[in-house]
């Protein structure tokens, strides 16, 4: 998808080179949450990386890197394609600038020249040698910029000045241009000059009209590019009482031609992660994993009460670009199948404006999940590490933690108005499939393109023990009320802890 998209967005320039109102900000990776947050190891160095994705493409991404240790001397950053052509030749890397106040914090800027699945490669150098990691970055235009009144006025004045100036220059040329020096223009010439000025004025108006039409065409093309990356609509149909059928419908006609749902790749074991969240209060949530049937996805729903539900469905296309399908559905009472496998659900109280911050979630077995929130306020657009501690019924760190879909936990950050939805992992906001494309499959796991068949004579490696503490790097994109669903697995059971947060 992305190579084609790059050309769609950018077009060729120089031959072979030759690619209103603040539009609703929506994104493919998540919904309303375009920035990328990542935590991982660059060789011996543990880094937290934030990529502030530009709102227009090509545009400048701001990169923030924090080292967990003080032994990093130099950070280099460079953008590349996530996979395929262009993922092998890096441009000259930029050296991130070390903060004068905080020696472990580095910042830099990178031009992202193409839309689609990109990655930012981060190289760290310090007393322990060199290390490298890559952060997947879905790059896409998010908006168009209105022209400020002052600039609009200035350009309007200059346009009129140039247009009128041209008319008068043409008049002077006809009246005096080829008169002998010193000769006074006769009446006939003056009359001819007026005719020339009138004709020039008509031509100038025509040129301005054509220019406006061209500008409109360019703006329209750009808006189509913005629409292309808006979250596709999840069109739903209920069959046989509990069979939910989901079909993706892009917001631009080109989308369906370029993004094939039959080509989506598994993201931590599943082709789709479907979240059904009751609206408006979010007092119920289901995390399900539909199967693909041709270009559609189907799921046999479990028992569910009738109600209105928001749909968020995460998929990753073959180039590693993550899409979140969005939609709404009114469901009748569902008498469905028992949940199996990785499917999970939660029921509790609704999020209201009076809810306030909730930092302890009680679990069914008497245990609880505690959000180590700290005392400071939560501030929008600030990268944070959200740490949660899972305790058993005696208040001790839970010893029965297990991997849940290949990792210690999953978290969904949802704003009260449902305009923000982000599905986060301990490694950050990037999809695991994209991370694997960017960095290769982690040891002991099956890559996207590999078959999970062990060679003869070998046994499956035992999964590493899972800590009772799980953390998620993320930053709230805007002020407001949020609900955070934290999901972990203990003794074969998926547990969901729910936290409420007010972000300033």
């Amino acid at each position: 998808m992305t190579i084609g998209l790059g050309r769609y967005m950018r077009r060729r320039t120089f031959g072979s080179i030759a690619i209103a109102l603040l539009a609703a900000v929506s994104v493919g990776a998540h919904v309303g949450s375009p920035d990328v947050f990542f935590e991982g190891d660059a060789g011996p160095y543990h880094l937290f990386v934030t990529v502030r994705v530009p709102q227009v493409i090509p545009g400048i991404a701001e990169i923030e890197v924090r080292s967990a240790s003080n032994d990093v001397d130099k950070i280099e950053i460079v953008p590349m394609r996530l996979s395929g052509a262009g993922s092998n030749f890096p441009p000259t890397p930029d050296v991130a600038e070390r903060s004068k106040q905080d020696a472990q914090f580095f910042t830099g800027s990178l031009w992202l020249m193409e839309s689609g699945a990109l990655k930012v490669r981060v190289s760290a150098e310090g007393t322990k040698g060199k290390g490298e990691l890559a952060v997947p970055v879905p790059a896409f235009a998010q908006r168009t910029l209105p022209m400020e009144r002052s600039l609009s006025g200035l350009l309007g004045f200059l346009m009129v000045f140039l247009a009128v100036g041209l008319v008068f220059i043409a008049g002077a040329a006809a009246r005096e241009g080829n008169l002998e020096p010193g000769e006074t223009p006769p009446y006939a010439r003056k009359r001819r000059a007026r005719i020339v000025m009138a004709l020039t004025a008509v031509i100038v108006v025509g040129i301005l009209y054509l220019g406006k039409a061209w500008w409109g065409e360019e703006a329209s093309n750009y808006k189509r590019g913005v629409s292309f990356f808006k979250p596709p609509e999840a069109e739903t149909k209920l069959a046989n009482g509990n069979r939910l059928v989901i079909q993706a419908q892009g917001q631009d006609p080109e989308w369906s031609k370029r993004v094939n749902m039959e080509d989506v790749i598994p993201d931590h074991n599943h082709l789709m992660h479907l979240f059904l969240i009751s609206a408006p209060g979010m007092e119920r949530m289901w995390h399900l994993h539909p199967e693909r049937e041709d270009s559609k996805f189907v799921d046999d729903l479990p028992d569910m009460p009738a109600g209105h539900y928001e749909i968020f469905a995460d998929v990753v296309d073959k180039a590693g670009f993550p899409w979140t399908l969005v939609g709404q559905v009114d469901l009748p009472q569902i008498h469905g199948n028992p949940m199996v496998g990785d499917d999970s659900s939660w029921t509790g109280t609704a999020l209201t404006a009076q809810s306030g911050d909730v930092s302890v979630a009680q679990l069914a077995d008497g245990g609880r999940i505690v959000w180590e929130k700290g005392s400071g306020p939560l501030v929008a657009n600030t990268a944070m590490v959200f740490k949660f501690r899972v305790e058993d019924k005696d208040g001790n760190p839970a010893k029965d933690m297990q991997q849940y879909m290949g990792m210690a936990g999953h978290a969904e950050f949802v704003s009260s108005d449902m305009s923000v939805f982000a599905h986060i992992h301990p490694a950050g906001s990037a999809s695991m499939a994209a991370l694997e494309l960017a960095n290769g499959a982690p040891k002991g796991t099956c890559g996207i393109t590999e078959q999970c068949v062990m060679p003869a004579g070998m046994t499956m490696p035992m999964p590493a023990p899972v800590s009772a503490e799980v953390s998620f790097p993320y930053g709230f994109p805007k002020v407001g009320e949020y609900r955070i669903f934290v999901q972990v697995k203990r003794a074969g059971q998926v547990e969901t802890g729910v936290f409420d947060a007010r972000v300033q």
């Binding site: 227009v56 953008p79 262009g86 030749f89 990109l118 002077a172 080829n178």
Partner: protein
């Protein structure tokens, strides 16, 4: 003229004929003309360098050397024109005032007003382009509305300078006239180079078997080729313009790759170690020679009749030369420093490399015929425009 005269005082003037002979005669090339030529040379170097910069390095700032050279065009032309207009308006040299036109109370040579218009258009394009980048992203293409305004401004400066040169030629001594005539051809060549750059997409080597290529050339080139040649009244005028254009472009094609460069933007699809130039110049030299020969016997014809012959002869002779040359450019023999077909920009996708030497021949035969017919029709119109412009310059006095 050393005495002080209060502003607005009536100056007793001698009879016109005496003033023309005594005051307006041009015996050397005035310094503002050299200043404007220097500005255009500066822009002429800065333009291709900037394009090469974008193809090779990518990232730029307002202060790259190429950008400074382009901006110097406006500065030098602005200084020269401001001097000419202010001295004609507020000075006391009657001959200077006599050889000027009047616009909005200001006096000055017509060409200076046209060039000032160009400078203001170029200045206007700067905030417009900046906003465009913020609104729609950095435009990595030559033709966008703000870039077109910039290009129009640049073209107006050249048109203004050619008008100035033509006016000076009308009252210059023979030796000065020759210098001015050469400068006219040079500025004409820079106009052809500018139009050629705008046509880069349509005239990419792989597009040279498409009628759209010849239609684009027929629309953009004849007027800027014919006007300075016709205005100079030199029998090899077209050849001179096209020859200078060819030399300029070849110089860039051969010199730019001598400088090391590496991409500073990604994704990078091509490994770049030096500045990447644009392609080999269009073979406009061929129709130029043909036109110069044609006009030896037809220059006295009526202009529409002359244009009706000149336009199609231009298109057909260009087609006859460029079409087989395009075949050659697709061969391994052209992938060298001379013909420059081995160069790729860092952002040329790998898909281009699957077959970058395959001529695009996607136009159906009927479309090809229709576009070629349109090219012939447009060539007549643009040739007629070139003759009108050239005649205008021949008559230019102020």
């Amino acid at each position: 003229m050393g005495q002080s005269i209060p502003f607005g005082q009536h100056i007793a003037r001698p009879p016109i004929s005496a003033r023309v002979v005594a005051g307006a005669r041009v015996e050397s090339v005035p310094w503002p003309i050299w200043c404007m030529v220097a500005g255009i040379v500066s822009g002429m170097i800065g333009g291709p360098w900037d394009i090469s910069w974008h193809m090779s390095i990518g990232r730029d700032t307002f202060w790259t050397p190429a950008h400074i050279l382009i901006q110097l065009t406006g500065v030098l032309v602005g200084i020269a024109c401001a001097y000419m207009i202010l001295t004609a308006t507020f000075g006391h040299d009657a001959a200077t005032q006599d050889a000027s036109v009047k616009i909005w109370g200001f006096r000055g040579p017509l060409g200076a007003f046209i060039a000032v218009w160009g400078c203001i258009a170029m200045l206007t394009s700067a905030p417009f382009d900046n906003w465009w980048h913020n609104a729609y992203g950095l435009d990595v293409k030559i033709l966008s509305p703000p870039h077109t305004l910039l290009s129009l401004g640049s073209l107006a400066i050249k048109i203004g300078l050619m008008a100035l040169l033509a006016a000076l030629m009308s009252r210059a001594t023979e030796s000065v006239r020759r210098t001015l005539g050469f400068l006219l051809l040079y500025i004409g060549a820079s106009c052809v180079a500018q139009m050629g750059t705008i046509l880069t997409s349509s005239t990419w080597p792989t597009e040279m078997h498409q009628a759209a290529c010849y239609l684009a050339v027929a629309i953009a080139i004849p007027a800027v080729l014919i006007a300075p040649a016709w205005g100079s009244q030199w029998k090899w005028g077209c050849t001179g313009v096209a020859g200078i254009y060819t030399i300029i472009l070849l110089t860039f094609e051969w010199v730019l790759p001598l400088f090391p460069a590496e991409p500073k933007l990604g994704p990078v699809y091509q490994h770049i170690t030096h500045l990447v130039p644009l392609h080999f110049p269009l073979l406009i030299i061929v129709p130029a020679i043909v036109l110069d020969l044609l006009w030896r016997k037809t220059s006295e014809w009526g202009r529409w009749k002359l244009a009706a012959v000149t336009g199609p002869v231009f298109v057909l002779s260009f087609w006859a030369a460029q079409w087989p040359f395009a075949d050659f450019l697709m061969t391994p023999a052209a992938r060298n420093r001379v013909f420059g077909m081995g160069y790729f920009a860092y952002f040329d996708p790998a898909t281009i490399l699957y077959d970058p030497y395959q001529l695009n021949a996607s136009e159906p035969r009927a479309v090809f015929a229709r576009l070629m017919a349109m090219a012939l029709v447009f060539s007549v119109i643009t040739a007629r425009l070139g003759f009108a412009w050239g005649d205008w310059m021949r008559r230019m006095k102020r």
